[in-house]
């Protein structure tokens, strides 16, 4: 029944909005790195985006049902690669996150995200999204929890947290009853509070980072430094911004990593409230378009796939921008489609490839 699919049904509107954001990203990376040793990273980012586009088109060609069939194998490979990082990974700034394959350093925790989206969609689609029993719920928690714990141990709390929205959206759309949900929230609150106060699970520096956003002025040269510089950058942008390549926080090197985690702060400083608002609008439009694709998907597994992508992207946007404007702790989660970084760009485009995939097959049945 599978016919050769043209790219007529490809979501060109979505791709247009995505490329607009990518263009803004490249310009801002150029501006933010011109006086640092990262000069020239905007060129690298363009290469990453090009590679991401190619991967997206490739992934869109493979029927997503085949991806779903493949989910458990890929999941096994993920677990193995995470264990491999633990054993043979390269240690960078105290954390083992990278595996070296020839000349390329690879961060498995990024593509685990993608596999989890597919796996969770597969799992809940099989259950029919009617009513979840407690064993169903626990199995889902286990499937997401194992890689999450492995990544927490790297330690990379930020990336591990991005797995959580996948589980959340799966349970929500998979048909969890509100009573079950309430109970789960209560139990996890107890667990989190317990882990926090036991002092063993969460390392002191992580604790300090997680709490400093509440009162960044307490230690302006220490943990609160990044946050404070970020707030000054965003705030001093005003309504119209200081102008491209003119932000004193960005150009004066006060803003930490202004091309990666804090790129939104750099952008807000140079382009003001107007620019930042337009970027948020663009993100909102993209997310709405994604949800529309979920509604028109041919079957329930397609919808779940797209919603998984929505959940991860929403989470990352919220946490990153929330961090930049002081609503969230500093966690090192990149802003999708804007932050510099190969792993992050490739993941986002692969995730969009899944969405395109589902959309292209919406009439195939």
């Amino acid at each position: 029944m599978q016919k050769a699919l043209g790219y007529r049904d490809f979501d060109w509107l979505l791709l247009g909005m995505v490329m607009l954001l990518c263009t803004l990203s490249v310009f801002e990376i150029y501006s933010a790195t011109m006086h640092t040793k990262y000069i020239g990273f905007h060129i690298k980012q363009m290469y990453w985006i090009g590679g991401g586009l190619a991967l997206m088109f490739l992934l869109a060609r493979v029927d997503y049902h085949r991806l779903l069939d493949f989910a458990y194998w890929a999941y096994g490979a993920c677990i193995l690669s995470l264990v491999a990082v633990r054993l043979v990974g390269t240690r960078v700034m105290g954390a083992r996150r990278w595996v070296r394959l020839g000349p390329v350093h690879f961060q498995p925790s990024e593509w685990v995200k993608l596999v989890l989206i597919v796996l969770v969609a597969h799992y809940f689609a099989n259950l029919g999204c009617k009513r979840l029993t407690w064993p169903d719920i626990f199995k889902a928690i286990g499937l997401v929890g194992v890689p999450m714990l492995l990544v927490v141990a790297q330690p990379d709390l930020g990336t591990a947290l991005t797995y959580f929205p996948i589980l959340f959206i799966g349970l929500f759309l998979g048909g969890i009853h509100w009573r079950q949900a309430l109970l789960l929230v209560a139990v996890s609150l107890v667990v989190v509070v317990g882990a926090w106060s036991s002092g063993k699970v969460v390392k002191p520096y992580q604790k300090a980072r997680l709490t400093s956003f509440l009162n960044p002025d307490a230690d302006p040269r220490g943990t609160g430094y990044h946050l404070r510089q970020s707030l000054i950058a965003v705030g001093s942008g005003g309504i119209w911004g200081q102008g491209a390549e003119k932000g004193t926080q960005t150009q004066g090197n006060f803003l930490p990593i202004p091309h990666a985690d804090f790129i939104f702060a750099a952008f807000s400083e140079e382009h003001g409230f107007v620019g930042a608002f337009l970027v948020l609008l663009l993100y909102f439009a993209i997310l709405m378009r994604l949800i529309q694709n979920a509604q028109t998907a041919a079957d329930i597994s397609g919808s779940l796939l797209v919603m998984g992508v929505v959940a991860v992207l929403t989470f990352q946007i919220m946490v990153n921008i929330g961090m930049v404007i002081g609503f969230m702790p500093v966690t090192g989660i990149p802003l999708p489609l804007m932050s510099y970084g190969g792993s992050s760009v490739l993941f986002t485009f692969l995730a969009l490839g899944v969405v395109m995939n589902v959309r292209m097959r919406r009439f195939v049945n």
Partner: protein, 707 residues
Amino acid sequence: MTSERVNREEKLPALKLTLAQYGILLLMLVLVAGLWRLQVLGADSWKVLAEQNRIRKVPILAPRGKLFDREGRLLVDNYPSVSCFLVREQGSNIDADLPLIARGLDLDLDQLRATLRHYHGSAAYQPIPIKQDITPDEQAFIAAHRNELPELETIDEERRLYPRDGFASHVIGYVGEVSEEMLNDPRYAYYEPGDVVGRAGIEQSYDEILRGQDGSMDVIVDSHGREVGRAGVQPAIPGHDLKLTLDIDIQRAAEEALGAANGAIIAMDPRTGEILALVSHPNFDPNAFAVRIGRAEWTQLITDPNHPLMNKAIQDQLAPGSTFKVIMSVAGLQQGIAQNLKVNCAGGGNFYGHFFHCDHHHGLLSIHEAIPESCDTYFYQLASMLGIDTIAKYAHELGIGVKTGIDLPDEMAGIMPSTEWKMKTYHEKWYAGEVISVGIGQGAVAVTPIQLLRALSGVASDGHMVRPHLVDASQVPVDFERALLDSYPGSGSTVVPMNPDTWMTITDGMAGTTQPGLYHTAEGAHLEGIDFAGKTGTAQVVGGGDTHNRGGAKTPNAWFVGMAPRRNPEIAVVVLQEHGDWGSGSAKLAAQVITAYVNKQRHEENNLATAPTKPVATGQQAAYLPIPAPMSAAQPASTMEMAAVWSRPDKVRQTGHQQESSPEQMAVGGFQIALDHPEDPIREATPEGLPQTAGQRAATARKPEAR
């Protein structure tokens, strides 16, 4: 497989998706509200903070670790110095001040502008070094112009102070500003432009240990760049000191021996691989690099035809000449050919239709004469019988054509030809006739001095090959050592299995080289009372004939590898004089270094030199004792024989005339030690009259191993 397709017709409840949409909208509104609060409502107060937010980072430079010789004598020191930096501040117009700065600091205005352009792309807070090691007058100038030139900043730092006259310069290396291409190398990710980094020698290979970690001081400045307070200090962590295996006394002897000749001398302890001395000439003055080197001086260094920056000891790849005959002998004896080979040398011989010359008419000789007399004809014959691939196999085992892995940067590997090598390099077949010149270390064979030293002293140590090194691994972290071994790969320490007869015959032959005798090639370097063995090499250069005018471009390179004592040597020396004519000349230089070593040993306290162990033929003709072969299979493994160098009780010394002591009073020999009590072998084995403290040092240095 098909189970999930059961649900094809089903859809997710639209309500839930709509709910998700509203959820996202809500979250977005929260973010917009946050932005509104910061950028619209709070903009003015944040702008004030941004204005105040001018913290200038002033680096506190970490002093590099010092270098000491093996006895803890200072080799490389630091001295306090003041450098001038220029700090760019936004809005201030530095360009207008440049002529004044150039005048006050005695700088070339164009060069100063070029420096600023060079740093154009670097971080704005980063100070630009404009002049290092400034004079008190220039410091006074900066102090007097504090108000007109607030962008000038001075920093106290420690600079490198190297020995004068290029002493050990190729071992030590030098430091310099980190280069553009280094900054692009991930291994140098630690560095920022303008940082000082080791660029050669130990300074480069142990840079990570020596460099320490720069600190910084956060100085709060107002919008005009004037200091208004200090926000915090991160102190610098000084680099670690390193103790080299180098011995200043032996190094000095080696430098004096080589003199003005182009070439290299290395002295090594073949038991451990510790380098005692390493000279390469011409050398350079590392102090010239410590403050930024002038363009003219640099051009001169890199265009000098004698390559002063090249460490000839590890980078010069030359034909080994007759020194290669030791490796030929190993191949010949191990293959069971050389033992019974007798060759009649009539000033050369015919091979593959050509006549190949020898230096003399040696007449009929066996391997026992062929090594000390260095008869080419014998080794032509041996080479033609062995064939190139057998020779290459043994040469490879002994490390020819492979880096030794010495902990100095940019070692070369040399070349050991073979049929496979020729096919790979020239895509040509190997012609059998080519093996003849390889037999005497000519042809395509190329070795570095360090390689040759390791190979020949390894043969004399029963095939125990070492990794030459200048820093003992115990001083550096395990991780660093492992990374070092990775980045300086080499054959390392191995054992090449060898018949006892093989190395006994060869070491006896090499000992004969320095003994008086007809045709013995290094009899002029004979050391009375020292068991001094070695092999000369007079290696023709490409396009050169037998033109023996010293120093000429076509004059052969003069090699010598010498060691004492002949078996399990304590010291081995390689001498290379480029275009130095006969190898016998190099043998005399090696003899000087060995003499310095032996003389030093006897002055050490707690040394064997204070007490003789055996009735030695004191001071008479036969001071050189033949060592009985200890390794015959029948002998129980519970004892082993040790070789040692010592002197007899020195009456001259007791009467206070130290300067009269001479190498003739040194003696050498062997004694048995028991291996039954490995924890204290000497006590059991004390030969008559040996006090227990004496000898312990020499004996424990040599790991007793039952062979």
